[in-house]
Symmetry: C2
Subunit: 331 residues, 2 copies
């Protein structure tokens, strides 16, 4: 099988290569693609160093699977080309997610939707994926009616330049220097930026709309009520989410824990009295969506509060994309 | 007027001295008090260096006003002694907050409650204060029915040892060393701890209950529905809060901005398209409660979403305590 990875030199692209290798995905031939700026670099894959090619139409010739993580512009440009040549594109950008012809898939939640593709499958937003891996099994039991999400999102979601900016910004503060942000509009080190993506004229951010609209599409609940505030925090890797989920039927925390203990992709971390709850620094580099702090919500009837953490580069991006591919190309 | 400050050498105690001085509070005589460990140190006040005395019953003789910030144990021990000697105690600990005989006061919200004191007035929890300074004016207009709060709380709320732990923990990560936390159960640098105060047997933390119960008491809304998740974040100073507030009457974001533009203690910072929203690093060392990201909530009817930031050592602690004293002892 011939697998292309567009955006292969980026933070998520490199994770895609690592995940393909680690999971033994049947990629006999790997074609790392990037813009001209990164072409010629070599990336490690199964003990070899594979040269990165500049993306062009011909690069998709004979490709069975193309994993894209190069942003919306390149996705709009190249995904139809790759699909026209017979590849299945799993796209990590937001370009195609709300297209009614494009399935938006979290394998543990709506894996069957992947089969309806017409050449392009969209990988959801990182913050949405981890919330839904935790909530879908509870929804199946009790019927989700309302979701409130406040997110605590790490800088790696923005890319490697943002990781460097947090590192340098933190050094600056510790050394008593003024840092000068360039990736973010304000310093991110030891700070909180309630700003992920552009704002619409009502003051809602793109990331907040993604939580609302992508949750509805993935869960097949077009009228689901979703409140969302998305915030960038000074963490390198791993997103946290404070969720309140209200259900049609009463669902006890004990029953929720039972369900989640067996749920695919979920790792329960819920013994707060012993200091056990999901933590970004423990989630970093691992696959699960960690769920803890499960309790009856103090404010709403038939509602649970939860704290959910996952590695935004893995389940939030590269891992979920490869898992989508696995549903179509089983080993 | 004779003013005692118990816990004078702590982070909040030192801010209390600074706020008393800066606001010209009529403290002719200042008595800084602390445990035996800190007695003998000297603290600057109005150009003098005043020696810290060890707290004892006699230390409150002749004291008119006693500001306490030494934790719940010392508050329980010394507040009744000070009150019995005729002092009015404004206590920053949680010891007396839910006592029905003790007013719990945010001057902008329920300043008139301070007059009902019997010697002790409680200063609310930092996260509660800033939420209510923002919400009370909207409540007066439209009737608050439900509040959902996710907090992003800085380490200075824990004290100076926690500030040092974040600083050292961040250095450790940047230098590739393992940090060893002692104040918090897990590393706080570049991490998120959904753990503030002890957990009850339902898994709700003390800080979360404070948000619920203190909000109800201060607003005189004993049945107010409140959802709360409180999280410690790697920020030195200034708490952030993602709030969703649902009202009895419809309240537009435009009208909310009008109200908040004139509200006491509030500074609007709400032009997200130009990158203007509340930020902890800009709030640090300043008095206002900053309110921004005001928008119609995408999930609930008659609800607004807001992002609120304030300096937890000032409005969240020392400033609010001194403002309570000012309502009783006007200059």
């Amino acid at each position: 099988m011939k697998v292309a990875v567009l955006g292969a030199t980026g933070l998520v692209g490199r994770q895609m290569l690592a995940v393909l290798e680690r999971r033994g995905f049947p990629a006999d031939q790997l074609v790392p693609l990037a813009s001209s700026r990164s072409a010629g670099r070599r990336l490690p894959f199964r003990g070899q160093e594979i040269p990165v090619r500049e993306v062009c139409e011909e690069a998709f010739e004979g490709v069975d699977l193309a994993l894209f993580s190069a942003g919306s512009g390149p996705s709009r440009r190249w995904a139809p080309e790759a699909a026209r040549r017979g590849a299945v594109v799993v796209d990590n950008s937001s370009a195609w997610r709300m297209d009614p012809e494009v399935p938006l898939v979290v394998p543990e939640v709506n894996g069957e939707d992947a089969r309806k593709h017409r050449g392009i499958i969209a990988n959801p937003n990182c913050a949405t994926i981890q919330a839904l891996v935790a909530l879908a099994p509870l929804h199946r039991e009790a019927g989700l009616e309302y979701l409130s999400a406040a997110t605590y999102q790490s800088v790696s979601g923005t890319g490697s330049v943002a990781v460097a900016e947090l590192e340098e910004g933190a050094r600056a503060v510790l050394e008593g220097r003024e840092g000068t942000p360039s990736v973010y509009p304000h310093p991110i080190a030891f700070n909180l930026l309630p700003h992920i993506g552009a704002f619409d004229d009502q003051g809602v951010s793109e990331e907040e709309w993604k939580m609302v609209r992508e949750s509805r599409k993935i869960l097949h609940l077009p009228d689901l009520a979703v409140s969302s505030t998305t915030v960038r925090v000074p963490v390198f890797r791993g997103h946290g989410e404070a969720l309140v989920a209200q259900f049609r039927e009463d669902l006890s925390p004990e029953r929720a824990r039972e369900i989640l203990a067996d749920a695919p992709g979920v790792q329960l971390a819920d013994d707060p009295a012993r200091g056990v709850y999901p933590l970004p620094r423990e989630a970093e580099g691992t696959d699960p969506v960690y769920v803890g702090r499960i309790r009856r919500d103090t404010g709403l009837p038939r509602a649970l509060a939860l704290w959910v953490v996952s590695d935004n580069l893995l389940k939030g991006a590269a891992l979920n994309a490869v898992q989508i591919a696995e549903t179509l190309f089983p080993a």
